[in-house]
Amino acid sequence: MKERIYLDYAATTPVDPRVVERMLPFFSGTFGNPSSVHWFGQQAEAALESARETVAGALGARPEEIVFTSCGTESDNLAIRGMAFAQREKTGAQRIITTPVEHHAVLHTVEQLVELNGFKMDLLPVDQYGMVDSEDLRHALRDDVALVSIMYANNEIGTINPMAEIGKLCRQRGVPLHSDAVQAAAHLPMNVVRDQIDLLAIGAHKFYGPKGVGALAVRKNVGLHPSQTGGGQEDGRRAGTQNIPYIVGLAEALKLTVDDLEARRRRHVAKRDHLIAGVLGNVPGSRLTGHPTERLPNHASFAFENLDGNHLLTLLDATGFACSSGSACKVGDPKPSAVLNAIGLSQAWTLGSLRVTLGESTTLDQIESFIEVLPSLVNKVRGAA
């Protein structure tokens, strides 16, 4: 059996064994419903509230500002839909400012609000790296803005937005700011909620926690319409019996991440830069996408001229390397990457993207062998076209 090397940590990460360890008692042992009055319920509630404190600490928020959800996408949906309706009710504002390079969890939610509920969408321009210019935001922040939603770091090209400046501008204008921090959570400081960001969405499986659980930090005095109604859990903001083992897992994974953040960054950056130099130096017609320095420490993304990115992914996988692409598609019908369009790449480049994201198990040897095989695979794909 050939060795398989996983280089797609932005898609998902393995669950840290320490996290699994913390989750296990809450399946069959401490199984109570945290809403129950009795002792079984109280034990579960204790685990839930302890997890909430941990997450609040990591995000620079207060425990009552944390809402647990089923994933990052749900957190984005709750933040945007909940805030858009609440703001329109409060102020009549109905413009939502966002960017063309957001994850679909954000873009498709805003688009639905436009189509079904009469909201208006303003797309901020992004520069050649996919970054928002705060000057553009300043001009866009008019009176009738209900909400701004700008991602912390881009999933496809890794670029980090200047959230401090963006947050300051929104705060000055009194407009709530949501940030999709799903990709950022594994690598960037998250304790920014109180100062700059009103709503912040994360999902556990991107930082060595389990799939199927996420969180949304909601600043205290920000009203939010629930998008899932029912038993009033999560302070009425997200109904449904809480998934205690997974919430415990999310909290533990986030704590481990925050404790290790700087060391993790250093481990990744050296390997990432070696990878980037190796690819750009050995593959003709290649370019880095996203910002050269203001990017996620584990994230390398490329565009190759005149290349079918999906075909390259297939050959890479057959060779033992698991990567991703902005136009990745499992049914053989790739579309040009919208993100690459937005940063101004021409058609010759937008189908040929490759994302290589490193993780805790990635070694320099693995990167070396990746750099060694990539040029010949690129040649094969270009030859087949």
Partner: protein, 366 residues
């Protein structure tokens, strides 16, 4: 010997290719599943007979169950530019093209075969009912599938020695009930889709409406005439009729009339009695001789002029330049220019080519 030999298997989500993949896994091959994404008319992707999202999900489920990697291969542009365009071009030229032949030649045993090589595979396998037999001299023979109702050797007649040597047909030596029994044994709950001769990209619709949308210029109404030139009616466009067709001509006559011929130069559809459908022979070009060499002498053979036609005894005369002349023992009806003629000796496929003309002996070209 098979242990670890790498095979790429074309999967469709149907029972034949799923069992083919399962058998290869069972035999110890290192198996990778692939499925071609072919071209569909925009908005009709859900109706493409070969590769609907449902079919792809089905194939993916089978691959997951077998524990093998699975990839969708995008050949939409290639399929459109090569297969669909020549389909349209064929009708423009007044013939009845067979796009499945071209697809097998240039997409399946072209693009997919090459991709299989890129993936490091020694063999490409499909769920077709045909058989490859090795001969003592190192060459291989293409033979009919064991199940006469399912035999697909007709379309496989495009394959060369080089490709056949690297092709496996795991169910080719089985009858359909045996394949179904294997499916049950492997616990494969795959849909046993009804066989269809519809073209995949027609999305279940008639080819006439496809042509009207994509090549309106071929839809030129004209005269229906009899062999003696007598004007008996109007046709809607030559492309809308097939040789031997009786129904739907819209001609009132005292006896049944059949389409005998299309006269592209005058845009006339020639009709006549059933007796005049019969032809004594045909010429064909672009022959692929499976052995790799054209026979030097005329030989007796059984000949098929359509996928579902019966085998007809004939004498085949190689003419050089990959041309042949076929003289049938008995008069043959419905010979259609543009369709494939395939030459058999018993179970063995000798070769195949594209029908160019049909004739009666007295009018045989020199």
């Amino acid at each position: 010997m098979k242990k670890g030999t790498s095979v790429v298997v074309a999967m469709s989500g149907g029972v034949d290719s799923s069992v083919a993949a399962a058998l290869l896994v069972e035999q110890g091959y290192d198996v990778t599943g692939v499925m071609l994404r072919l071209w569909s008319e925009p908005g009709k992707e859900d109706s493409n007979r070969c590769c609907t999202p449902d079919a792809m999900a089905g194939a993916r489920r089978v691959a997951a169950k077998l524990g093998i990697p699975f990839y969708a291969l995008n050949s939409q542009d290639l399929f459109h530019d090569v297969v669909v365009q020549s389909f349209i071009e064929g009708y423009r030229n007044g013939i009845t093209p067979n796009p499945c032949i071209l697809c097998n030649q240039l997409i399946r045993w072209g693009f997919m075969y090459e991709t299989a090589q890129e993936l490091g595979a020694e063999f490409m396998a499909t769920g077709h009912y045909a058989q490859v037999h090795s001969k003592p001299d190192g060459n291989v023979e293409l033979r009919r599938g064991l199940d006469p109702d399912k035999d697909q050797s007709y379309v496989m007649s495009v394959l060369t020695q080089e490709k056949l040597r690297r092709t496996l047909f795991p169910v080719g030596g089985m009858a359909k009930p045996e394949v179904r029994a294997h499916a049950r044994r492997f616990g494969l709950t795959v849909a046993d889709r009804a066989d269809s001769q519809d073209l995949c990209f027609l999305a279940g619709q008639d080819y006439r409406s496809f042509l009207a949308r994509h090549a309106p210029e071929v839809v030129q109404p004209g005269k229906i005439v009899q062999a003696d030139g007598r004007h008996v009616g109007e046709h809607q466009g030559l492309a809308f009729y097939t040789i031997g067709q009786r129904k739907g001509l819209g001609v009132a006559a005292s006896r049944p009339l059949y389409v005998l011929e299309k006269n592209l130069a005058n845009n006339e559809l020639v009709v006549g009695d059933e007796a005049h459908l019969g032809r004594s022979g045909l010429t064909a070009g672009g022959m692929n001789w499976v052995s790799g060499t054209a026979p030097a002498e005329p030989f007796e053979a059984e000949v098929k002029i359509r996928y579902r036609a019966v085998l007809a005894p004939a004498v085949v005369t190689p003419q050089g330049n990959n041309q042949i002349t076929v003289h049938f023992k008995n008069s043959m009806r419905d010979i259609t220019v543009g369709q494939r003629v395939v030459i058999y000796n018993g179970e063995v496929v000798r070769g195949g080519g594209t029908i160019q003309t049909s004739f009666n002996t007295i009018e045989e070209p020199a």
